[in-house]
């Protein structure tokens, strides 16, 4: 194992910079993945809220968002029946309650995945911190050596 106190040469510094860049790219991918999971989770929560509100409306009008901040008042013909994508591009009809249960289960799955991705990201960041410290001390050593030479 390399002596951490030994002065670092230019090549070692460059290698560390490359490691840092590589870890940075990996971390970026995991951050994107976390964001996707979070979006999915929020979407599922919103769907649950809508399904519950539709039932509570009891045949009355509900606000239907049509994008761009616009909404219309709409009456849902069958609030008890929900068409839901269960995966593999398959859509099935479920009761309102079953659809909510399904979405809750999905949220739990997404939260579990988020936890795993976040753990991996934490590990990567810890490694990046370690490399950063090494690079910083390398620069300081190089600067000190330069001053002595001067």
């Amino acid at each position: 194992m390399a002596d951490r106190n030994a002065p670092m040469d230019q090549n070692e510094l460059m290698t560390l910079q490359n490691y840092l860049q590589e870890y940075g790219q990996q971390a970026e991918i995991f951050v994107q993945q976390l964001q996707m999971l979070e979006n999915g989770r929020l979407e599922a929560h919103a769907a649950i809220e809508s399904l519950e509100e539709m039932l509570a409306a009891n045949g009355g009008a509900v606000l239907l968002q049509i994008g761009g901040g616009a909404s219309v008042r709409a009456k849902v013909v069958e609030p008890e029946k929900v068409l839901i994508a269960i995966g593999s591009e398959v859509i099935v009809e479920r009761s309102n309650k079953d659809a909510i249960d399904f979405l809750k289960e999905r949220i739990m799955e997404m939260e579990a995945s988020q936890k795993k991705v976040a753990e991996t990201l934490d590990r990567l960041r810890a490694q990046m911190n370690e490399i950063n410290k090494r690079i910083e001390s390398g620069y300081q050593q190089a600067m000190a050596a330069g001053q002595n030479l001067g």
Binding site: Q26, I86, G87, E109, S113, V117, R123
Partner: protein, 352 residues
């Protein structure tokens, strides 16, 4: 790995077993309700062959078998609900529809019409049916070591796939795996398109002690990979691992570049890399890639983060190409050769 699917399969296994147990109990109740059979003849007559197909045994036949042979014939009706639940379980786990259909058909075929001896473990019956169905769908895997051993060297392996799925890291991991297995390897840095890709593969190669052939950013990837093959030939190396830029199958210019790479380096294997967490999307993309440039095997990365397991279960069946490796973590040795029997045992909790 695939924890969610494992839990759901356990529930499906119990549900199927429960359905069969219920059928046994029902048949035993019915046995008490029908008139007693005529006194048995001193020499037991061989059981008559049923005129109806095994999937639809009549009530009389079921009771007869129960009385004379102490067996139960499992009928389609007994399993209807449990199979329907299994179907939902698989679809919810992102197992592709054709693979789901194949699994259900196989379980049904294996269970319906079975003469189950009373006392024989229902669970064993169910597990064997599920095991057989999953193994049929998973295929036989792809033994890279065996392929290299039996093939003329250097074996040239081209890695393709969409952006950001961990292709370059996978090349490094497979390089490390092969080196550990005693093969000599060179890596061709064929991703000359993405900024930093050449540095990335060089860093990996340096860390695992494998020679990397590289040109500068923006160079023709065919030329880089041709040089990598030349290097392997002149140094009598066993394997060339060719990294390439990520691309989508509908990008015509990038796909024609891939065609050129194939013409120039003449790969022995084209390996498609995607991430397990992409689920059914990964299966669809693999299918499109195979249609466009062809693929001989598949590697799925980030399998450790995939609780559903849908892509891993369906990909071989859907595109007809074997799964070769599963990426399961960040370290170089976090790559597992895909062994269907082992995966199925894990999924069904049959730890052997």
């Amino acid at each position: 790995m695939f924890g969610g699917l494992r839990e759901k399969l356990m529930a499906a296994r119990q549900r199927l077993g429960g359905s069969i147990e219920a059928a046994v109990a029902k048949a035993e109740t019915e046995e008490g309700a029908v008139p007693a059979p005529e006194s048995p003849s001193p020499v037991a007559a061989p059981p008559q062959k049923s005129p109806s197909p095994p999937s639809t045994p009549s009530f009389v036949e079921r009771v007869r078998v129960l009385i004379t042979e102490r067996e139960l014939i499992v009928s389609e009706n007994d399993l209807d609900e449990a199979l329907s639940e299994l179907e939902m379980t698989l679809l919810e786990s992102d197992v592709a529809l054709p693979a789901t259909d194949a699994i259900i058909a196989s379980v049904q075929k294996n269970l319906v019409g079975r003469h189950r001896k009373i006392g024989e473990s229902v669970d064993a019956l169910v597990v064997n049916a599920l095991k057989g169905a999953l193994l049929d769908v998973l295929g036989s895997g792809f033994d890279l070591k065996e392929y290299i051993t039996k093939h003329e060297r250097p074996v040239k392996i081209l890695f393709t796939g969409v952006n950001g799925t961990g292709k370059t890291t996978t090349v490094a991991k497979i390089g490390y795996y092969l080196k550990k297995e005693g093969f000599t390897v060179v890596i061709g840095a064929g991703d000359t398109y993405r900024a930093g890709a050449i540095e990335q593969i060089s860093v990996h190669a340096e860390r695992i002690g494998i020679k990397v052939i590289q040109h500068q950013e923006g160079a023709d990837p065919s030329a880089v990979l041709f040089d990598a093959v030349q290097y392997a030939q002149s140094h009598k190396l066993d394997v060339v691992l060719a990294d390439t830029a990520g691309r989508f199958h509908n990008k015509a210019n990038l796909m024609s570049q891939l065609e050129k790479i194939k013409r120039v380096m003449k790969p022995d294997l084209v390996v498609y890399v995607d991430e397990a967490v992409a689920g059914n999307d990964a299966v669809t993309r693999a299918f499109e890639f195979d249609k466009t440039v062809g693929a001989d095997a598949v590697v799925l990365t980030k399998a450790d983060m995939d609780s559903r397991g849908g892509a891993a279960i369906s990909i071989a069946h859907t595109i007809g190409k074997p799964l070769m490796f599963l990426g399961v973590g960040q370290a170089y040795d976090d790559i597992l050769p895909f062994e269907p029997a082992k995966v199925v045992d894990e999924l069904l909790d049959c730890g052997t």
